[in-house]
């Protein structure tokens, strides 16, 4: 059994309205050192697979087909054996 930890973020070229709003709020709180905020999604999958590679492949397919929209999002996958 494997756990896939998936991070989905808006592509750098895409404006992030939610991140921008949170960034402005932090600025109002006085956190001037925090220059920008980008908000994404974290998705965790539990996968039956025979190897890390196979689990990674399944998670990648899931991202490409459904979990991420590659028009505007990038994703990273980390596989952990359980």
């Amino acid at each position: 059994m494997f756990t896939a930890h998936i991070n989905i973020t808006l592509r750098p070229s895409i404006l992030d309205p939610k991140g921008k709003a949170a960034g402005e709020a932090l600025s109002h709180l006085g956190y001037d050192a925090i220059r920008s905020v980008r908000i994404g999604k974290f998705i965790q999958l539990t996968i039956d697979a025979t190897s890390t590679e196979q689990a990674h492949q399944l998670a990648k397919e899931a991202c490409e087909k459904l979990l991420a929209n590659e028009v505007m999002e990038d994703f990273t996958i980390e596989i952990e054996a359980r």
């Binding site: 939610k18 709003a21 929209n69």
Partner: protein
């Protein structure tokens, strides 16, 4: 008489508006198609209505795109059938790949529910042939994620092929930042596919059918469709 099939997903909420517009205002045949069906009931036109299909979970339209009915819609579109996706329906068509691009949260971070003005950018489509180029329509919007985005090549492809059908404008037809309710790139409110038989638009023409509720400009979209189907109809 033309047959309109209106899809119904869990969370659709403009399906009845579309039904009313088609059946009671335009006097055409309208049928609801539950999302688990695969038989579209031989439509002339498919409407993918607005709402919050699947609660907008994951991304707007992302899950509805895998409903069984969507395979039939894609097949219908690929054969040249007329498909119109409104609001959440537009988002579903984007997710299904029938139209290019994606939707972000409105730049203003607010759900925008108001009347807007649209400039007719192309009359060369089954959805806009009853307008004149540059004609300004008043139609309502109601969405939180209508901030249309595509990359530079994608935008160029839309522009070069005259596929931007509507842009947000002011009352006089000027395309301005102030008139853009959601931050959509190039003020885009509606586009069509390369073959020009599939349209997606964020505003709601089906809610601009009767003067009592503010505008009848939405009728032009439906009159255009009937015109394209070879049926004459008064807008």
């Amino acid at each position: 008489m033309s047959r309109f099939s209106i899809l119904v997903f869990p969370g659709s909420n403009c399906d009845h508006d579309a039904y009313h517009a088609v059946k009671h205002v335009m006097g055409e045949e309208a049928n609801f198609i539950w999302h688990k069906e695969t038989d579209l009931q031989k439509p002339d036109v498919v409407i993918v209505p607005g709402g919050f299909s699947y609660g907008d979970y994951l991304r707007c339209g992302a899950i509805a795109r895998f409903s069984p009915v969507m395979n039939s819609v894609i097949e219908f579109a690929n054969k040249g059938g007329l498909v119109i996706g409104i609001c959440n329906g537009f988002q579903i068509l984007l997710e299904s790949g029938l139209l290019p691009g994606a939707m972000l949260h409105n730049a203003q971070l607010k759900f925008a529910c108001k009347q807007v003005y649209l400039r007719t950018e192309s009359t060369d489509s089954p959805f806009t042939n009853e307008m004149v180029a540059g004609q300004v329509l008043q139609v309502p919007i109601a969405h939180g994620e209508g901030n249309y985005v595509t990359d530079a090549d994608g935008l160029k492809a839309l522009e070069d092929n005259d596929r931007i059908l509507f842009r947000y404008c002011d009352a006089d037809g000027n395309i301005t930042t102030d008139a853009n309710p959601n931050g959509a790139i190039s003020n885009i409110a509606g586009i069509c596919n390369d073959r020009r038989n599939v349209m997606g638009l964020m505003p709601h023409p089906e809610r601009a059918m009767e003067s009592q509720i503010g505008s009848t400009d939405g009728r032009l979209v439906f009159a255009s469709i009937l015109n394209a189907l070879g049926q004459t109809h008064e807008a």
